[in-house]
């Protein structure tokens, strides 16, 4: 086969992959686009049997969502997400460091123990958790959610961070030690800059999981500590369809996570591809 034919075949293959990727991308993005478009429609247009892509946008759904008191829910979600993610990183980074850089005995057992806590379905544990929260006056308290979300994300964060630490060449750390770096300096000035993309990726995963968490929020909060997912479902009704208003609320609820992903985009791509090529 001539070189030109090989090159042409390679180009064709690349094009097919690109088209496939675009189709999959559009398929995944379409529901999001539909949600955003629906949020600018009237209720009658939203469930019209012949859906329109071109229509006169209205903002009444957003006005309705804002007048439903979104503020406290948004603040609760932000607080639970920011604080629990920070706590997860504070705990997971040293744990992952110990489990990857140092030769800890029975490291696999320790790692399995971490991840085994994710194997129990939350629904099976909710009654004991509910009763425990009640006995310490922790119902409808945002700090109860912060503690639970920290525990919920910690195992995944430890596993993720460990895989990033394993990527760091041990020679780099040895060189720092030979230059007289102490443990704190070694971590701060050598290790963390290298694994920063990994931390960003881990943080974003924690943010997404926490922001979207519904089950604990539904069961353990009432008024003061309710979060965005609980606010969102209050627009779902079994008698009548309010799709446009629900779409407006869902669009607003998605914005903070999208923003977080957008800001962390550069780090994220590096973080998610770390370990993919060795």
């Amino acid at each position: 086969m001539s070189e030109i034919a090989v090159r042409r075949k390679g180009k064709l293959g690349t094009s097919i992959w690109a088209i496939g990727a675009w189709i999959i991308g559009i398929l995944f993005f379409f529901p999001v686009l539909w949600m955003v478009l629906t949020s600018f429609k009237t209720e009658a247009d939203a469930y019209s049997t012949t859906p329109h892509l071109v229509f006169k946008p209205v903002f009444e759904q957003y006005a309705s969502v804002f007048s439903s008191g979104i503020g406290p829910y948004l603040v609760n979600s932000l607080l639970a997400t920011v604080v629990s993610t920070a706590l997860v990183l504070v705990l997971a980074v040293p744990a992952a460091y110990a489990l990857s850089i140092y030769a800890v005995r029975k490291v696999q057992n320790a790692l399995f123990f971490f991840i085994s806590t994710k194997m129990l379905p939350i629904v099976a544990a909710i009654i004991p958790i509910y009763l425990a929260a009640r006995s310490i006056s922790g119902l409808d308290n945002i700090w109860t959610l912060v503690v639970l979300y920290t525990g919920m994300n910690l195992p995944i964060a430890v596993w993720m961070m460990r895989s990033f630490f394993l990527e760091v060449p041990s020679e780099m750390l040895e060189a720092a030690r030979m230059d007289g770096a102490k443990l704190g300096q070694e971590i701060r000035h050598v290790l963390l800059p290298v694994v920063a993309p990994g931390i960003a990726a881990t943080a974003l995963i924690c943010v997404i999981f926490t922001w979207n968490e519904f089950f604990f929020a539904l069961n353990l909060t009432t008024i003061r500590a309710s979060t965005m997912p609980v606010f969102l479902v209050s627009f779902i009704t079994s008698e009548g369809a309010y799709w446009a208003r629900l779409a407006a609320a869902a669009t607003l609820a998605s914005i903070p996570v999208l923003l977080a992903g957008w800001f962390a985009q550069k780090q994220l791509v590096r973080g998610l591809s770390m370990g993919a090529v060795k």
């Binding site: 209720e43 009658a44 469930y47 049997t49 008191g69 503020g71 406290p72 948004l74 603040v75 609760n76 932000l78 607080l79 920011v82 604080v83 920070a86 009654i127 509910y130 009763l131 009640r134 119902l139 409808d140 945002i142 539904l218 069961n219 009432t222 008024i223 003061r224 309710s226 609980v230 479902v233 209050s234 627009f235 779902i236 009704t237 079994s238 008698e239 009548g240 369809a241």
Partner: protein, 446 residues
Amino acid sequence: MMRRICVLFVALLTLTGCGFAGAGGGAGKGESITVAVVSNPQMQDMQELIDRFHEEHPGIDVRFVSLPENESRQKTAESVSTGSGEFDVVMISNYETPIWARNGWLRNLGPDIARTPGYDQQDFVPAVRKALSYQGNMYSVPFYGESSFLMYRKDLFAKKGLSMPPHPSWQQVAELAAKLDDPGSDTAGICLRGLPGWGELMAPLSTVINTFGGRWFDPRWRAQLESPQVREAVRFYVDLLRKYGEPGAAAAGFTQCLNNFAAGNSAMWYDSTSAVSTLEDAKSSKVAGKVGYVAAPVERHPGTGWLYSWSLGIPKTSEHADAAWKFVSWATSKHYIGEVGKTLGWSRVPPASRLSTYELPGYRKLAGAFAKPTLDAINSPTIEHPTAKPVPYTGGQFVDIPEFIDLGTRVSQQLSAAIAGQKSVDDALAQSQEYAATVGASYGGR
């Protein structure tokens, strides 16, 4: 960097403080009560009108927790059963009220009703009042009530030269559906629920089973879901839907059927009387003024509609029971119903809780076509004797035991699969029988 993070954290805490005050909304206002409601349109109207209550009772601040039906049910049951005291008022139905009252979880509202001048308990629709009572006392009071009836398109019937009998049989309905079914013009012969859920598919299907002479259990709690009568009823329902029902029937619940019928895509619909508020509202319905209403179809056992009521109760653990009763009595009063009609429109009035609603001139004008069928359906005496043969339970579209939420949902999943054509009716009923036998065994059925 650390300083920035600290500033952000303090800002968040400050905001949270504001948020809590915002959510509570009643700092310095006096007593505050928390009300759990289902997020249906009538309850959203209640939240819209809450300032009227605040005007009458400036010392009481009302905070709503509004959730969809399933989530609300789960949340309130969890809270009330563990005595957590999170809610001062809960929205429950005639399914929960007697069970919760028997468990001692609800406040007896009898004395509160007696000491409230002008509240007029006798004005409640009698069947609804009875369904919300336990040992002669009301443990919750109705916000609105519903039964089931058959809705049909008068214009389509006239076009085809057909007429609807005032008390049709299911066989007649099937024959009419066959004549009216017209896939070419996107019109199904009939719309029926097929979505799994004890409150979805099982509501209409249970009434069909009842009128065909079937039952869930015999008096000794032995499961009866493989009896010839149940088999005949389920086969009839599944065949009717598969031949002349709406497309995608296995995923159609009340809301989907409402949209389907309101958009003019079905000739008949057997469902809740509460649908009229949407169907007769020209803003949301293409068929307003074109719909006729007749009694729930029957087969062998007469009068087999369902009875359901969303009502307000006060958990025994409430520390603000007096304030809670002031709110409950306001939201379920004659005055409130008039207020909704005058402020939001008569089509949005919570229906079928009070007889006096049907005497209000504004509502009478709107409800001329459906007022009598609604009241007749709700007062049909089938709730205590829902089936032809004796049974150890009451309830038209449910069995009044706590296990029914799970049992009804599991059985509905099987039968929905039969509607979707994923399994045969016989296989679905065999599995359902096993589920029912397990529940029956805990009541002594063998």
